[in-house]
């Protein structure tokens, strides 16, 4: 930006809330020089700075790209509304935090798709950054717009705005895509040809090279490649060896507090438990662990480079990490003297681990969080959540006798086959947890029992056994929430519930097709943004957007799909097969559980990939 613009920015920053979000300059931020031969990439996080700076994936990609001589990566986030208005008034484009460069000047910009309700932010960020919102409107000078992350597994609602999606683990694919863009620019190819070149990168999906057709009933009739360069299906990328995979030894340390402001050690990727509602559990297969030695090395580097006072372990199921006790003991031994505390997610604490924890009392004793997900054993069997009431009560009794007095219980409502009895089971469980507390003599338990019951609205997601299932209608969800509210008016119990309208829109995007892109565009035109923030969600504008686009939310959210329906996301092969998912769906309806696949292989499909799966 030139001097005049920087001065206007300076004045703008003095009048917006939390200006520290917009200035960069954090410890370990990498400000690389823009010089010839360096391909420039803006990693865009479609939510606020505080959320973005809590995201591990961004830190991995940021570090990895910046370590390449021929590439550089800068960060950009969604501004809050006051900053957004200010940028527009002052004629300042959305810029990267490092060199304060307009997004439009980068060779490529990449969005991470963490949740559906951030999609409107992507459109606003493109527009603010001076990039035509629709792919079709972009010219030779415009950046290539990339997207990846979990929601890319159903890319179709964004097909009109994103030039290329990268499927699966991003470490290798990002570098390959950026280098392909570099080659295309160097060799003087047209944008359309660069996109065709990108389609050749394994795991890349270039929506412009495919065509979708629909039946009269609205379902997909065919989906086909229209170009020799575009293959089908797209196989997701898998990084098999996490010890060899890129991981940052230093990370930017925000001055202003992020939502999760600590060192995060990713100990494992993937999960074998097979909960039937869980998309991540299917998407991130196979299970891969980082070695304890590698984790010690990374932890030491990160503590030295950041000075963080807290470290946490990240994975889908930390209790399943093979060497958890050794890891926790080793980390505690290493960092006890430097005042770095280790925070663990709530997990089954077996005897050996308990010993390891009490060795050094360095583990932060915040409240205990447990996720039974459903209120009765029958429904927990339907969703294959292998937790029994006995397990749960044993865990909370243990916790209460150790001095915990705050328990959070997470549930979902609207799960397939759910009855009112299942919902009332949630209240019964909360009562039993309270009973477990009072069963401990007064002198031996901590004071101030607080049980928080949070109940999310179930959103059926692609690549889960419930991808065929209907979401409950709004009326039904409201009725169920009322029922639960009444049942949960118990002493010391707080009940939190989700806004069913937001979950309804989320469901439409989760399993949306190409026609949802127009709904998104219409919502963007109507000023929808920051939809994940309750104060900004505008249901009225969303409903207008649906009718302007001629789309029916019920078609996407509350419709039961046929076994053989062609899904928009069938273009992607995540490893787990549709046949396996259907078998799991049928077992679910019969409330049959499926064991952890490390005990018994059920043929989910991963064994097709060489070396992907232990069994």
């Amino acid at each position: 930006m030139d001097e005049m613009v920087l001065q206007r920015l300076d004045a703008l920053l003095a009048r917006v809330q939390k200006p520290a979000r917009y200035v960069g300059g954090e410890l370990n931020a990498r400000v690389k020089a823009w010089r010839d031969g360096v391909t420039t990439f803006a990693f865009c996080f479609p939510d606020t700075y505080e959320v973005a700076m809590s995201h591990l994936g961004m830190k991995i990609i940021y570090d990895l790209v910046n370590r390449q001589e021929d590439l550089l990566c800068e960060r950009a986030m969604m501004p809050w509304t006051d900053m957004m208005e200010g940028l527009k008034e002052e004629g300042i484009p959305l810029y990267s935090l490092e060199n304060k460069v307009s997004l439009s000047r980068f060779d490529a910009v990449g969005f991470t798709l963490q949740y559906e309700m951030s999609y409107t932010n992507i459109l606003h960020m493109l527009d603010l950054g001076g990039i035509p919102v629709r792919s079709a409107g972009r010219g030779e000078e415009d950046p290539i717009v990339i997207a990846g992350g979990p929601c890319a597994c159903n890319p179709e609602p964004l097909h009109a705005f994103i030039d290329v999606f990268l499927m699966g683990d991003g470490e290798e694919a990002t570098l390959e895509a950026l280098r392909e863009i570099a080659r295309g620019r160097r060799e003087g190819h047209k944008r359309a040809d660069i996109l065709r070149m990108l389609a050749g990168v394994p795991g890349a999906y270039v929506p412009a090279l495919y065509e979708a057709a629909y039946r009269e009933d609205g379902t997909l009739s065919s989906f086909a490649s229209t170009d020799m360069a575009a293959s089908l299906p797209i196989e997701k990328r898998i990084v098999l060896d996490l010890d060899e995979a890129a991981y940052p030894g230093d990370i930017p340390v925000p001055f202003t507090e992020a939502v999760h402001d600590r060192i995060v050690l990713e100990i494992m990727r993937g999960c074998t438990r097979g909960c039937r509602f869980c998309q991540a559990g299917m998407l991130y297969r196979p299970v891969r662990e980082r070695s304890v030695e590698k984790l010690f090395e990374l932890a030491q580097k990160l503590v030295d480079a950041t000075g963080y006072e807290e470290m946490s372990l990240s994975s889908l199921s930390t209790g399943d990490y093979t060497h958890l006790t050794e890891l926790v003991q080793g980390l505690n031994a290493r960092f006890a003297d430097s005042g770095v505390s280790l925070s663990l997610p709530s997990l089954r604490i077996d005897g050996r681990l308990k010993e390891a924890l009490s060795d050094t009392a360095r583990v932060k004793k915040s409240g205990l969080t447990l996720a039974p997900e459903a209120g009765t054993q029958r429904l927990r069997d339907v969703i294959n959540k292998g937790v029994t009431e006995e397990d749960l009560l044993r865990t909370v009794t243990e916790a209460f006798s150790q001095g915990y007095s705050q328990i959070k219980l997470y549930f979902m409502m609207g799960l397939p086959t759910e009855t009112d009895e299942d919902l009332l089971g949630i209240a019964a469980l909360a009562r039993k947890v309270a009973g477990a507390y009072y069963a401990i003599p007064k002198g031996e338990r901590a004071r101030g029992l607080r049980i928080t019951v949070s109940c999310a609205v179930f959103v059926p997601k692609p690549f889960t056994p419930f991808q065929w299932a209907a979401q409950d209608t709004l009326e039904e969800i409201r009725r169920k929430q009322k029922l639960l509210r009444e049942a949960l008016s118990i002493k010391n119990v707080t009940f939190n519930w989700h806004d069913p309208e937001v979950s309804g829109i989320e469901a439409c995007f989760a399993r949306g097709d190409r026609r949802m892109a127009e709904v998104l565009y219409q919502a963007y035109l109507r000023g929808c943004m920051l939809d994940g923030w309750t104060e900004h969600f505008k249901l009225g504008a969303w409903m207008e957007a649906f009718s302007a686009a001629g789309a029916d939310p019920a078609f996407y959210a509350t419709r039961v799909r046929e076994k053989d329906e062609l899904f928009p996301w069938d273009l992607l092969d995540i490893g787990v097969t549709k046949a396996f998912l259907w078998r799991e769906n049928e077992r679910a309806l019969k409330a049959q559980t499926t064991p952890d696949c490390r005990e018994f292989c059920l043929g989910c499909g991963l064994t097709r990939f060489e070396g992907a799966c232990a069994t």
Binding site: A11, L27, F255, V303, D304, G307, G339, K364
Partner: protein, 221 residues
Amino acid sequence: MKMLLVFKKEHDLRFIGHLDLQRAMQRAIRRSGLPASFSQGFNPHIILSFAAPLAVGITGEREIAEIPLHLPVSPNDFLERLGRALPPGLVALEAIGQPDDVPAAMARLFAAQYAFSPRKGEEGCWQKLLEGLPAFLARESIPYIRRTKSGERPDDLRPGILNLLEKKGELWAALALNQHMTAKPDQLIASLAETAGIKAPLPCIRRMALLDSRFAPLEQV
């Protein structure tokens, strides 16, 4: 022993609030490996105190923090190690070793010296402000409404202005900053503008020094 640190908080960090600054300093101390003292309790943190919080938007030329150490360290060693660990925008300028019984800098603080310079585009209005200086200083009382957490109340700015003069087009002010009286730099500009009959400009503000009751910098014990 404890170490008195004189440091600079540069322009790029002017939006970093007091708590954020404290956290950044604690993390830098941890990175430096200096033998800092930890608080007791379940989540121990590095003990550190600042002489005076700096308002968001103002840069600090010679800010002061005190850091208790559980092992002796030479000031040069301290300065070098902390200097390497500080994030961009924070600069360690000077370190002075002190016995534990020296009164805390916070307790010795009496006033702060500020420098105000005009932003580009506001030079005209700035000139008017400077022209109004003699009339402003001649006033015996400068009433204003003080906004506090507990509400609004009338107050007088004049006794808090210990010194006010023009220096090469900049405005320099020594303003009271102690438990009995506090005059804030943005209020000074607002009152000056009111006296001059103009809209208050938004100058760049630097805090140049923290002073004790002798009007000597706090670091000169």
